[in-house]
């Protein structure tokens, strides 16, 4: 079969080849002959194009795969657990059939918001410094350094949270007040992880504010600080908001730091000094153990993943739309 296809293809190519130039001479004076301008079939070319299209279509397949996988497994889950219970239940105890996502969701919110509380002010300050104050030399050195910061594997951040930040917090606030695993430590370190993302997005936003606005402010006698903080930052507000939202999405999906430092056991608490398990942390812990494919445990992970997927997707789309808007405004 395969050899037959190869044979046909070879025939096809050969035919195409003979049509290319006919027997026309190369030089104008030798060129008395007829030549077809009919579109050559070029099967190789078409095959390549088909392959390239297939490559592009793989991304669609991926999305479809994610939706189908999360959808079907979650559907199995929601056959046994009502959606209402899932979203309103206050306890997540698969062993006794309690599947309320609140503890996991609240832990995710705690760590993510802690992270953003670190990353946004620091990232914005870094961005203002780099965009408005730093000399080009300094900027060109610092930007790659921050990129390196973003390139360190998250498991190393998790290590850092557990072995440095947690002991530090416990020393600072008292051993009895801070648990060995706590969401504060995870959140703080996650903030450092997200900081480069925020600072580079904010810097983009700040530097896309037209220079004329800056000049206008200076011309009115504003100081550099007033120009930056009162004119440029508000003008770049939507870009900064987009950075915040994208950072939040990153934080919600971040796994290794919380898996290592936040705790291993769902608990509904708002106290960042206590341990709690996030959605991602739970998925990693449960799937890391021995898990049978037809259990509720297994299916429940997909239900959590679906919540995770939908919320990050929503945040990502929101962020991108904001960026697109402000680009349109200034271009």
């Amino acid at each position: 079969m395969a050899s037959f296809i190869v044979y046909c293809y070879a025939r096809f190519c050969k035919k195409a080849g003979t049509m290319k130039h006919g027997t026309i001479g190369f030089y104008p004076e030798e060129r008395l002959g007829r030549l077809s301008f009919r579109r050559a079939p070029r099967p190789t070319e078409r095959l390549i194009q088909a392959f390239l299209f297939f490559c592009a279509a793989v991304s669609i397949l991926t999305t479809a795969g994610i939706i189908v996988v999360l959808g079907t497994e979650s559907a199995g889950f929601f056959k046994e657990v009502s959606i209402l219970e899932f979203f309103t239940g206050k306890e997540w105890q698969p062993s006794i059939g309690k599947f309320g996502i609140a503890p996991l969701f609240v832990a995710t919110l705690t760590t993510s918001l802690t992270a953003m509380a670190v990353a946004l002010p620091l990232g914005l300050a870094v961005a203002i410094y780099l965009a408005e104050y730093a000399r080009p030399r300094v900027r060109e050195t610092l930007k790659p350094v921050l990129e390196v910061l973003a390139g360190v594997p998250t498991v190393a951040y998790g290590y850092f949270a557990l072995t440095v930040v947690t002991p530090f917090l416990r020393g600072l606030l008292g051993q009895e007040n801070v648990e060995v695993y706590n969401t504060l430590s995870a959140g703080l370190v996650m903030g450092v992880l997200i900081l480069p993302l925020i600072s580079s997005m904010c810097e983009d936003a700040l530097s896309s504010v037209p220079g004329s606005l800056r000049e206008a402010a200076y011309a009115m006698g504003a100081t550099k600080l007033e120009t930056s903080v009162k004119i440029i930052v508000p003008a770049a507000f939507s870009g900064i908001a987009a950075a915040f939202i994208l950072g939040l999405s990153r934080a919600v999906g971040e796994t290794m730091i919380v898996a290592l430092a936040a705790g291993a056991g769902p608990r509904l608490t708002l106290n960042p000094l206590r341990s709690a398990e996030t959605m991602t942390g739970h998925i990693v812990r449960i799937s890391g153990g021995d898990l049978s494919y037809d259990s509720m445990d297994y299916r429940s992970l997909f239900a959590i993943a679906l919540v995770l997927f939908v919320s990050t997707l929503f945040l990502n789309i929101l962020s991108r739309n904001i960026v697109k808007k402000y680009r349109e405004v200034y271009e």
């Binding site: 070029r42 996988v69 300050a125 410094y129 104050y133 998790g158 100081t223 990050t312 990502n316």
Partner: protein, 411 residues
């Protein structure tokens, strides 16, 4: 109108410089975090350790020669004297003692007879700053103990498989796992990613389909990596188990215990994960190729593919390469999706094929970090050092290759 201006210039300037200082401080802080991160890891990867020997190595001095300077005959005598007969026979069966070299024998004596255990470990910083105090403490609390300076990253660490004994544990299996996984990832993600980018940039007309694919790629780039783990678990590990376990290729010997949780599944999962990043980077690279280059090629009667193959790709390859290396670096550091698809938590056997069970460096780091004992923390730090070194060398290789290509590009 009788308003006056109260400019308050000096106050405003003071405020200005204060805030400027604050902005600079924030930046310094950010860089300091990076420094702290790296320093902590280095700090934990080296330092004094106090080892307690099961048989004190000082007692093994023979003919006035200390253990580490003994020759083959002396070591053999030591083994004869101290090793239990049963263990002796077992080792003899593995490889006769007569055929073993000096270094092998020395290692044997250390592992089987001296059998050190770690009593206490110190960080590099402590080791350097308070060496005297440590020595005093060692002499006082562990009079039998041996205080040595240990680099947790060492040749043995790189070449030994995983072990429950911290001193013997190594990352060979994990390194092999990482390398094999990444090769699979590259083999799938690179051609498909570049192909998709070429289609989007060179072939696609502006249609709803093109826009849908483009938006979809941006969205995929933002999906949390753990979701890709779930996808890999359902599709590669479970759905395609006959393929990913190697069963249909008759690789059942390796596959019978791994099910679908193989290097192949891991590589494919990571490939899907970094595909959007590769595509987006490659698109940027292709966008940077000037249109005049395409025109000049088409104007001499080249077909579209010839134009891409001989002009557009060579002109953009350096950027494509850089983007791909960035994506691969990310894949090397990924942990969560591999945990989800079922990386082995304790694997001592090196992978033999793509259908073997797998563990990777980040998985190993994760395992060791989540253990409470200090020794494992040092091991984790050492493994992070190796991981970072791997990523760094990959990146510098890419930079060198790119610069070389840039030079050739002018040709």
């Amino acid at each position: 109108m009788t308003g006056t201006f109260n400019q308050n210039l000096s106050v405003r300037h003071v405020r200005g410089s204060r805030w400027q200082a604050a902005f600079a401080l924030a930046t310094i802080l950010a860089v300091a975090f990076l420094a702290t991160l790296v320093l902590t890891i280095v700090d934990d990867a080296f330092g004094w350790v106090i080892m307690m020997d099961e048989t004190d190595r000082r007692e093994l001095t023979r003919d006035g020669v200390t253990l580490d300077a003994q020759n083959t005959a002396q070591l053999l005598a030591t083994i004869d004297e101290h090793l239990s007969p049963r263990r002796y026979r077992a080792l003899e069966r593995e490889l006769p003692f007569a055929d073993r070299g000096r270094d092998d024998l020395y290692a044997l004596v250390l592992a089987e007879i001296v059998n050190p255990e770690i009593a206490e470990t110190y960080n590099l910083f402590e080791s350097l700053v308070s060496a005297q105090a440590i020595k005093a403490q060692a002499a006082e609390e562990y009079p039998e103990g041996l205080l040595v300076f240990r680099s947790w990253v060492n040749a043995r660490f790189l070449l030994a498989p995983q072990s429950a004994v911290p001193l013997a544990a190594g990352i060979k299996t994990a390194i092999l796992g990482t390398l094999m996984t990444i090769l699979i990832t590259l083999a799938f993600a690179f051609p498909i990613g570049i192909g998709a980018a070429i289609w989007l940039e060179e072939y696609a007309r502006d249609s709803w389909l093109t826009r849908a694919i483009q938006v979809n790629i941006y969205n995929l780039a933002g999906v949390p990596s753990i979701i890709y783990g779930m996808l890999g678990l359902a599709v590669f590990v479970r759905g395609l188990e006959p393929i990913t376990s190697g069963a249909i290729f008759g690789a059942s010997a390796a596959g019978d215990t791994a099910n679908g949780r193989t290097i192949l599944s891991a590589g494919l999962t990571l490939a899907v994960l970094i595909l959007p990043v590769i595509i987006i980077n490659a698109q940027e690279a292709l966008k940077a190729v000037p249109g005049s280059l395409r025109q000049s090629s088409l104007a001499v009667g080249a077909t579209k593919w010839q134009t891409i193959r001989y002009h557009v790709l060579p002109a953009s390859f350096d950027r494509i390469l850089t983007g791909t290396v960035l994506a691969i670096s990310r894949a090397i550091g990924e942990t969560a999706p591999l945990v989800v698809i079922g990386a082995s938590t304790f694997l001592t056997q090196d992978p033999t094929s793509i259908f073997s069970k797998f563990t990777t460096l980040p998985i190993q780091i994760y395992q060791w970090t989540s253990r409470p004992q200090a020794e494992f923390r040092h091991l984790a730090a050492a493994a992070i050092v190796v991981l970072l070194a791997l990523m760094l060398s990959l990146n510098s290789f890419a930079i060198v290759a790119r610069n070389k290509m840039r030079k050739q590009k002018r040709f």
